[in-house]
């Protein structure tokens, strides 16, 4: 593995962006789930 900091930064940035987006999807799923529970009542 290269120790070049720029390479590492770019690598980290890529996955941070993807993970943030995936987290928003997850949050929306959770909210939706709550809403479905409410609807079932």
């Amino acid at each position: 593995m290269s120790s070049n900091p720029y390479l590492f930064a770019a690598y980290a940035a890529t996955w941070v962006i993807h993970i943030i987006y995936l987290a928003t999807i997850r949050r929306r799923y959770a909210r939706l789930k709550r809403e479905i529970e409410e609807l079932k009542k």
Partner: protein, 245 residues
Amino acid sequence: MRRLFPILVIFTGVLLSYAMSIALLPVVHIGGITLIGAPTEQTMGSVQRIFYYHVPSAWTAFILFFINLGASVYYLIKRCATADIVALVTAEVGVVFCTVVLVTGPIWARPVWGIWWTWDMRLTSTLVLWLIYVSYLFLRKFSSSGQTPLLAAALAVLGALCVPFVYFSIWFFRTQHPQPVMGGGGSIDPRMLHVLLVNWLAFSCFAFLVCWSRFRLEKVQREVDEAHAMRSLLDDPSAAARSMR
């Protein structure tokens, strides 16, 4: 279809880890055979490896935007709700990938060109593309009418019409004012090309998975909205009728 999902997740995971390892690790030779990795670029050094996720992300984003255009046109003709969800999802995930491109680009440019940002042709046009699709997402978010899909589809078509102009104008703009040019050019090492393609495949699979789950989310969301509306349809109107007296 839904049973396929876990299989796809595993497949994409394996592919991604393979793609990442060959992108990041230097070549390992055992007995004269290249086992793993791409050669380190001579002039730029290992920084060049940023390309292995910069470029595939860009390709993936372009493909997603292209699908967005197709779905939007289809929606305008057929008014099919699924096409609208596809358009929404591809635009959103496309913007995410485009963001990756715009972030990794400067990180590459800094050590190679010595500047974070240059108004180079590719960076600039990608930025403009990003702006167009972010404005598309804004419209979807702020539209108050029940006809959001129609407005969004219209914007997507005009935005796509704009893309050739963006490239053409910025290309001409840049050839007029010389700027730092990308290093080397010419032919690419076949082993590098191999790594690039594997990464692209991996990122495409990843994008497809993200789109899928986002698609499911949107679809269920709309079903819930529909259920709310149905419930208000079924409510007993007699209460209101009584209050009328």
